[in-house]
């Protein structure tokens, strides 16, 4: 496979840099700063040190014995990104971007957030590096992810409620971009996923790719070989890209990205951009989008706030187009079931986002032989979702 992206940030026909002129110079400057940091050994050394000492990496690759046994099929391993500091994989990326912001002399950071995991991870690194921090969050998400809102405030961040649209992640990102247009000279925008204009998809992928590198090392140590199947949930797709990227050229590894089917693909209430969307341009990149026939972006829906986004990272669009990754879907109901099941089988409460990946593993594992290996990226912990689950009657 050719190295992606090209120098303008294109992954095949996807990606690119579709941004207002006010932001273009900042994106070009960011790209140059990132390239320089990539070449600077002291940057990667510092990044790795923070990952180890502060975030708590490496995260374990845990063999889920009871889960696997109960499903009577393949062996299921969980890549425990939920054990990172702040409770999800998001810290991998925010540490990288905050270090870059510091290197560029920016003392203010902003971010969008859906589930609040990226917001918390950004507020955390802002506190760590003494930066001023504003988090844009949809009002709807502020209600359903209240614990994360408190965490951000405790960490000293300002949470800016976004009322436009459906008041979820897409609208938070619109507002963050607008704010960035007016503050671009001194503010660094920490985008939370492998989307946005170039160089974000590539940069976030690279910061997250530690997940896949560790997984490869760990599974080889434990099993002596690559996994047969990788499964990860996909909203924007940063945890999935993080675990997939290392294995992209390993033909023996099948990869599944799990999109949120919400109330079902036959309804309008889902977030399955690849499975049910069309190619379009939003938030700076060309990718699959949920949209109507006139090119108006539709509102996404998922019980998992972090998957509630009408687009998907451009490299996922590319992996779909080239058939490298198969993108499948899991409904709210299936995710809730998996949420409870993993909690009771393994004593691990997964984030509702990650529960989508678990649910898909529960579907395929029983159909696979006992000596086959599945790795699921358990991207985050589920404490934040307790309220949602209780309201939906997911726990009896």
């Amino acid at each position: 496979m050719k190295t992606q992206p090209d120098k303008y940030g294109h992954f095949g026909i996807f990606g690119g840099r579709y941004a207002a002129e006010t932001l273009m110079p900042a994106l070009i400057e960011l790209e140059a700063a990132y390239r320089a940091a990539q070449k600077d050994k002291s940057f990667s050394k510092e990044f790795e040190e923070y990952q180890r000492q502060y975030a708590g990496r490496a995260t374990p690759l845990y063999y889920a014995n009871r889960l696997s046994e109960s499903l009577r099929g393949a062996k299921i391993y969980l890549k425990r990104e939920d054990l990172n500091h702040t409770g999800s994989h998001k810290i991998n990326n925010t540490l990288g971007q905050a270090l870059l912001a510091r290197r560029m002399g920016k003392k203010k950071v902003i971010a969008e957030t859906g589930a609040g995991q990226h917001g918390v991870a950004t507020a955390t690194v802002a506190a760590l590096f003494g930066m001023e921090c504003k988090i844009f969050m949809g009002e709807e998400d502020i209600h359903r992810q209240a614990p994360n809102v408190f965490r951000m405030k405790i960490l000293g961040a300002e949470v800016v409620p976004v009322k436009s649209g459906t008041a979820t992640l897409k609208d938070a990102m619109n507002e963050a971009m607008r704010y960035w247009v007016s503050s671009v000279r001194d503010t660094f925008y920490i985008i939370g996923t492998t989307a946005g204009p170039h160089p974000y998809p590539q940069m976030v992928r690279n910061f997250q790719s530690v997940i896949g590198r560790e997984t490869k090392k760990q599974i080889i140590k434990m099993e002596g070989r690559n996994p047969d199947v990788l499964i990860a949930c996909v909203g924007g797709g940063s945890n999935a890209m993080g675990i997939f990227y290392t294995f992209r050229n390993q033909k023996d590894v099948a990869m599944f990205g799990v999109e949120a089917a919400g109330h079902g693909l036959n309804t309008t209430e889902h977030s399955a951009s690849i499975n049910a969307g069309k190619v379009g341009v939003l938030h700076g990149n060309k990718t699959y989008l949920l949209q109507d026939e006139h090119g108006q972006v539709r509102d996404a829906y998922s019980i998992a706030a972090g998957l509630d986004y009408p687009g998907v990272g451009p490299e996922h669009a590319y992996f779909h187009a080239t058939k490298r990754v198969k993108y499948v879907t899991i409904t709210d109901k299936e995710a809730i079931k998996a949420f409870s099941y993993l909690s009771r089988q393994e004593g691990i409460i997964p984030a509702l986002e990650s529960a989508h990946a678990i649910a898909y593993a529960m579907k395929v594992a029983p159909k696979m032989a006992k000596d086959k290996l599945i790795v699921v990226c358990l991207s985050g912990r589920g404490d934040k979702d307790a309220q949602t689950i209780i309201e939906k009657g997911g726990v009896r």
Partner: protein, 269 residues
């Protein structure tokens, strides 16, 4: 040269500056947009910038965001906007620029759009989120159709980049007067003047300034050194405030007439 170039030339010959008025198509309805169209032309608008509503207008402030939402709720589509242009073009020769975001055009099909827009009588397009780096495919259709590709220059644009943008732009160059989204800050005249004179050394294209201009005083001051001023949010706000007023068109036209008057006085300074 197209209608846009001709307009700047004829204004230049009269020592007058262009008044460019933005309004969101379909806010509150395409019928009202059509009435406003003719009203604005007779009130002295030189060029009309017709906003094609989009669900996610990331470069627009609250006023135009709300207008886009109203227009979309009223069922406005890109096809509807093109039909409106076709209709008014039967009797009007005012230059028309479509202003919007790329996704509705991409969904329409860039080639189909270029042909349909030309046929409708569109003179230029300004696609906010389509910088020169991504514009190649689109322009391969609009250039062939003879539609001007109006390009943006921002206060943050460095000179090297400015040269490239100016070299590739057609129609006029649109200088964004504030580091911000539309209608959200007061432009600083001295800064704009300095930037505009810098751009002058780079290009012979007419230069219009917009994004934060809301009154005749600002318009007049900017017109001293620019070739045109764009008024957007202020007009859109006025339309919204008067949406149930039978004198909507009249009130908007009074406002526009006053600004045009200020731009004419300019000459006598």
């Amino acid at each position: 040269m197209g209608r846009i170039g001709d307009k700047f030339e004829s204004l230049h010959a009269k020592n007058e500056k262009a008044l460019i008025i933005y309004l969101t198509a379909g806010d509150p309805s395409l019928g009202v947009t059509k009435e406003l169209f003719f009203g604005l032309e007779s009130a002295g608008a030189d060029i009309l910038e017709i906003g094609v509503p989009f669900s996610d207008p990331t470069a627009d402030g609250p006023v135009i965001q709300a207008a886009s939402q109203r227009a979309l709720k009223a069922g406005t589509t890109l096809q509807g906007v093109l039909d409106l242009v076709t209709d008014v073009r039967k009797t009007s020769s005012i230059p028309i620029v479509l202003f919007g975001y790329y996704n509705p055009i991409f969904a329409y099909g860039p080639k189909n759009f270029a042909q349909a827009a030309k046929k409708a009588g569109v003179d230029g397009v300004l696609v906010v989120d389509l910088p020169p780096e991504e514009a190649r495919e689109f322009r391969s259709h609009t250039d062939v159709a003879g539609i001007d590709f109006i390009s943006l220059a921002a206060p943050t644009t460095p000179e090297v980049r400015l040269r490239r943008i100016a070299a590739e732009a057609t129609g006029f160059l649109y200088y964004i007067s504030i580091t911000g989204v539309t209608g959200t800050a007061v432009p600083r005249i001295e800064d704009i003047k300095r930037e505009v004179s810098k751009i002058r050394r780079i290009t012979k294209l007419p230069l219009a300034v917009g994004f934060g201009i809301s009154n005749s005083k600002q318009a007049q001051e900017i017109a001293r050194f620019a070739d045109g001023v764009v008024i957007g949010s202020a007009v859109v706000r006025l339309i919204d405030e008067n949406k149930s007023n039978p004198d909507l068109v009249k009130n908007v036209c009074t406002y526009v007439r006053e600004i045009k008057k200020a731009l004419r006085w300019q000459v006598d300074d």
